[in-house]
Amino acid sequence: MVKTLEDRINPSSTNDSVLSTQEYFVNMGPQHPSTHGVLRLVLKLDGETVREVIPVLGYIHRGMEKKAETIGYRQQIHLTDRLDYLCSVMNNWVSAEVVEKAAKIESNERIQTIRTIVAELQRIQSHLLWWGVFGMDLGAFTPFLYGFRDREKITKIFEDTIGARLTMNYIQPGGLMYDIHPDFVKDVKSFLTYIKPLFAEYDGLVTGNIIIQERLRNVGIMDAKTAIALGTTGPVLRASGVAHDLRKIKPYGVYSKVDFAIPIGTVGDCWDRYAVRMLEMRESVKIVEQLIDNVPEGKHLTMKAGAKIRPPAGVYYEEMETARGIFGVMINSDGTEKPSRVYYRTPNFHNIWSITKISPGGRIGDLVAIMSSLDIVVPDMDR
């Protein structure tokens, strides 16, 4: 018997004792300071304890997959910018790489190296924003400003090289939109020297704080089996103890040539998800350090900028590890310039359902901490 949402929102008495309590439904509505976007959560509460969480999606559905069918392969890349807008270069990379694979467009070492560097910088930037918003959700308003101040340095580097600060549209089939700015290497190196001592400062302010530790310890525990069954990917999966990272398993770009480690957690609670992301930032810094000095020479675009892209008919799929999980693009091509079907496998859509399994039994304060540690970006869910 299928229950619709309206069927389930009916208050019911759950126990017959002398002091009867009633569970009630509260809407953590689309407009809420800490749902990170327009996400509606229908909570079934018993006092302060959460009994059930029902996410309602669709408030920012824009029909991106349908839109991609009416514009061509080159143009659908700038739509993926607006999916997970904090990892826009990584999203671009996946869309461009699947088109390259389909149309058999070549790439060279320089292009792949620069793509890797920019993607790792974007990962640091995304995690810095997550760190700031995480502190803000838990009540510490200051890390937000510190995170944005440091993130501004990377944004400035992107503005100088790419031209845009948020929606980049940088990685095109066949290479990059612009070659790197003459100051790129110098700016990135100065950023790396700037950010390394700040990690210790972040630890002093947030990670080592007793209040944060007590709020995150053993909250929202998700074991490895549940995580894999729900289809979560990214830091959420790695915090539950599963060592799964596409950069190591199916290396793309120049990841096979760099030496870095994958942080994994033990218990799978909010603290592990937090610690895994902080360690990932440090690993990304290591990757960029190894690559920035030896960027090979070459062209930045291996095909003509306006050339028509007509991949042969077939189904092609490519996936990569973004800051929030695995982002995959499937194109079903029928030989013309416009795809006949595009499907975006977004990480946040699969990560959000874990909240229905791990938050019941906790309190509202825990719910906010869990949502923040899952690091969801809502436009990614609704596409």
Binding site: Y24, V26, H32, P33, S34, E48, G135, M136, D137, L138, G139, A140, F141, T142, F144, L145, Y146, R149, L205, V206, N209, I211, I212, E214, R215, R363, I364, G365, D366, V368
Partner: protein, 362 residues
């Protein structure tokens, strides 16, 4: 009572009469209300500026020089806003809640002396009176949450109620330590007893522990981070005052900042000596140099220091979850408070504190 207050001076000069005393009483009240309003405005501006500088930014800069008139602009804006009352709200309670919150703040403020001469209401049970009246502030919060007819507001109000009545205990225990050391509930006597030195350092360990316990409990009393889950901006979208707009919200807002001022003033009075300058026992030369600075400046300086520490807490720490808050109070602060009180009793009985035998006898 050695120095007569301003009103007593005026009375003796003009001849005692009921008309003059009534006029003085009203004058004092108006002065207190004016002080309350101005202190609120200054505190709001100070909070925004200090918050900004903690966060590497500038704060209000546009209205007036470096944003000094920002509070005035905010007040005018709030006055001009439409007063929205939810359709199904309990109208009488909805209107009453902010008034109760502000009245509790005002009633507490008049009991704290600014200097030896500027005292409004110096009763024999001053400390007890303050503790009791600050409990009325809870009523304002509960009324506000209940009457808004909003589940989120109700949650916020319930949390705040539980939090405030729990932390009253710890605050009272730390106040009791000082009352025991100085031997009276009357605030002017407590201040006089600190003439040889402030209790925070004069009573070794006990004074400091009582001060820290008071600091934490009073931050919880006034619903400030790390204990602000009643307002919980990220969780409950403003908690118990979600449904208030315009001047009613301004009342809640003002009541919060006045409460901050009151607990800081109370902490400064009990632990840091109130308007008493920094004396060191019987070193008369040093004491006379310290006496040159006027007493109200001492009082305001100490209160400002306490307010600054409170703001520092707010902009550094995240907030506690409600069960952790309760655990902190009942399992950590209360036992420490009891042990502290016991040690304080021994100290008072045997005089184990600095400068215990002075000419004053305190």
């Amino acid at each position: 009572m050695s120095t007569p207050s301003i009103s007593q001076d005026i009375m003796t000069n003009l001849g005692n009469s009921p008309g003059i005393s009534l006029a003085l009483f009203l004058g004092g009240l108006i002065g207190a209300v004016a002080f309350m309003a101005i202190a609120g405005l200054i505190l709001i501006y100070a909070e925004r500026k200090i918050c900004a500088h903690f966060q590497c930014r500038l704060g209000p800069m546009r209205v007036g020089w470096h944003g000094i008139l920002q509070s005035v602009a905010d007040t005018i804006k709030l006055l001009m806003k439409e007063d929205i009352v939810p359709y199904a709200a309990d109208k009488f309670m909805h209107a009453l809640a902010p008034i109760v919150a502000l009245a509790a703040a005002l009633m507490t403020l008049i009991a704290i002396p600014m200097s030896a001469k500027i005292t409004l209401a110096d009763s024999n049970i001053g400390v007890l009176y303050i503790s009791a009246i600050s409990g009325i502030g809870v009523l304002g919060i509960l009324l506000g949450g209940w009457s808004s007819n909003n589940k989120w507001s109700m949650l916020g109000a319930m949390r705040a109620g539980a939090q405030i009545i729990s932390y009253e205990l710890s605050a009272t225990l730390s106040i009791l330590a000082i009352v025991m050391l100085s031997g009276s509930l009357k605030i002017s006597t407590i201040i006089q007893s600190q003439e040889a030195g402030w209790w925070i350092w004069r009573a070794p360990v006990v004074g400091l522990v009582a001060f820290l316990s008071f600091l934490i409990s009073s931050t919880a009393e006034v619903n400030r981070t790390p204990f602000d889950l009643a307002e919980g901006e990220s969780e409950l979208a403003a908690g118990f005052h979600t449904e208030y707009s315009g001047m009613r919200f301004a009342f809640f807002f003002l009541a919060e900042y006045l409460n901050l001022f009151i607990v800081s003033a109370l902490g400064a009075t009990l632990f840091l000596g109130g308007w008493m300058p920094f004396h060191l026992g019987e070193w008369t030369m040093f004491n006379q140099i310290m006496d040159l600075i006027p007493q109200s400046i001492w009082f305001l300086g100490k209160t400002s220091f306490m307010i600054f520490v409170s703001m520092w807490f707010r902009w550094t720490f995240p907030r506690l979850r409600v069960d952790q808050l309760m655990k902190l109070e009942w399992k950590v602060l209360l036992p420490i408070g009891f042990v502290n009180l016991l040690l304080c009793a021994f100290m008072t009985l045997f005089g184990f504190y600095f400068f215990s035998t002075t000419t004053r006898g305190f």
